[in-house]
Symmetry: C2
């Protein structure tokens, strides 16, 4: 089996402002430890996919950043525009089909955090075996809370695996639920978070595009033929100009029949906001997470992240306080999801633009 | 009458960290508008005391800072050590006695904020007239709230003035009261905040030192004789080595009989904490005071002060947020008085010392 890792490096990660900026989104910054999320994602799959079988799909504007931050190099596929995961995955599949028609691809978003590597690799191996049967395999995460921020996969009968590591039929995809529904899903036990990680053969996914997005599929085939020719760039550009903005879930997964879900046994965090830092960092005795030089007095349950200088925190609780270069964020933890709106508002303030 | 302004520039102003630092205390920084408090204090008295009749008493370590920040120059008297207001005022009185035995001195702390200059000058004129009679004249501020952070002056019969501007006998000085006492003082009407501003003839105050601090008085006379000679510096140094650490209130005012109080008609703020910034600045519609480039969303009643870059504030209330160069402070407004203790704690952290 020729297993290729396709690492998706799109997305702006605005919710990590001011550490992430327009020119440096979250997947490229060193949020946790000494390596970027992209590099950690890349290294996590090393033992199955060496550098020559790694493909990074990234916005063209980050070409320099990603060359710097992705660890052992692989192939870089630069997208002329961001078009969500559907076109990004189609682009990678068409490219792989051109160079290796027999390839199986593991699709990994660059900005997920997974600590238990061994379990992760076992899950990928199981998924890759199933993919050989012509299945589109997705990874579902057993929910630990009734989270309303994820889509859910409803699973049915076990079709492979043993012990804790199993693969299942998929009975349906469900969009982000309200709290009551999320609680029912959690209680039912057979609903999993849709992680956005997939394994399939390139011919299988291309068939999927052919069935559910025939127009885009024609462009993919045209691009596949152009790979390695002098027309590659111009065909790519034309393809992206006409590509719809659509996720792979909407584009293919929710419509296809040949779907399976591996029930993940590894930990998983999609690092959606500053609160993720608290989930993966050591706390002091007052439940504060302190990165960089911080002084606290009567501070409780705060996340403080300073890249230089000093931050002093006095008599407050439940805050996120971040200083990154020329910008400081002070936010209540219940409001961090609104950073995006704050930045939208900031784009209308001429003096603020250069800090975004 | 030869009226001299004696501007006291001591004190560390730690409560304005991180804008104020060990090397740049609050009286020298531009907290309000474009000029330092020292410069504003100096310019406020310009029409009564031109530069040649101004004396700045300051810690020797701030010699360069004060030359830069005090506006039109005057005479600088540098203290070898900080010894509180008693020795500082004695030093200035002895110096003035040497160069102008007939001088009257207006003692003004450099870090007070007074906006109504005309009323201030009228009050000084009244006090200076009373000083010619051999009185030690203090300025009392009619209290606007039962503040427990000030000493109070209990006043008696009117002895001069008319209309709102009057001077009174002093029946007693009272230390910082508890809240119940402070409320009684406020209700009584004849208790005034002890402002720390004074007017007297140099011979009167030197007599006061002679009566209540005879040892220090002998040193003052020795220094007075040494002024202008090659011994001036060494005598000054010896005087400060032996000078007690004592406020002018404890040293003289609370013991003397020849005391009067002018009931101030001007506004007054001793700028004791970051909350003063809110009292003297424009608010936005959510009661936030914003200095520098600030973005807010769902922020209420916050004081935000940024000297560079940008501060974004999201979903919080009642905070003081200050960024000054390499340091950031985030404090609840109810806790700002504890900045001093936070800094004390910081002095034990080697990496933090250079930010204090």
């Amino acid at each position: 089996m020729k297993l290729y890792a396709v690492i998706l490096c799109g997305g702006r990660g605005e919710r990590f402002w001011p550490r992430s900026r327009r020119g440096m989104p979250k997947q490229f910054i060193k949020l946790f430890g000494d390596e970027s999320l992209t590099r950690r994602t890349s290294e996590r799959i090393d033992s199955l996919c060496p550098a020559k079988r790694k493909v990074f799909v990234a916005p063209a504007e980050f070409a320099n950043v990603i060359r710097d931050r992705s660890g052992k190099v692989g192939k870089f596929l630069f997208e002329p525009q961001g078009r969500n995961t559907g076109p990004a995955i189609g682009y990678a599949a068409a490219y792989l089909a051109a160079i290796e028609p027999d390839a199986t691809m593991v699709v990994l978003p660059a900005d997920h955090l997974i600590e238990r590597r061994r379990e992760f690799l076992s899950s990928v191996r199981l998924a890759a075996r199933l993919a050989q049967k012509g299945l589109l395999v997705t990874f579902g995460i057993p929910p630990s809370r009734p989270d309303t921020g994820y889509g859910y996969i409803q699973t049915g009968e076990k079709i492979a695996g043993r012990g804790r590591l199993t693969a299942h039929q998929v009975l349906g995809f469900h969009e982000k639920p309200n709290l009551a529904k999320a609680r029912r899903y959690l209680k039912a036990g057979n609903y999993l978070w849709n992680s956005g990680m997939f394994v399939w053969r390139v011919d299988t996914i291309l068939e999927g595009f052919g069935k559910f997005m025939p127009g885009f599929h024609r462009m993919l085939l045209r691009f596949k033929k152009a790979v390695g020719t002098r027309h590659e760039d111009s065909v790519l550009k034309a393809m992206y100009e006409h590509a719809p903005v659509i996720s792979i879930d909407y584009a293919v997964m929710e419509k296809a029949e040949n779907i399976a879900a591996v029930r993940a046994t590894f930990d998983w965090d999609d690092v959606g906001s500053w609160l993720a830092l608290a989930r993966h960092s050591r706390h002091d005795k007052n439940s504060n997470v302190l990165k960089g030089l911080c002084l606290t007095k009567d501070a409780k349950n705060c996340i403080v992240d300073s890249d230089e200088g000093i931050i002093a925190v006095l008599g407050v609780k439940d805050l996120v306080i971040v200083r990154s270069g020329d910008a400081v964020l002070v936010a209540h933890q219940d409001k961090v999801a609104e950073i995006k709106e704050l930045l939208k508002q900031a784009r209308r303030v001429p003096a603020a633009k250069r800090f975004l």
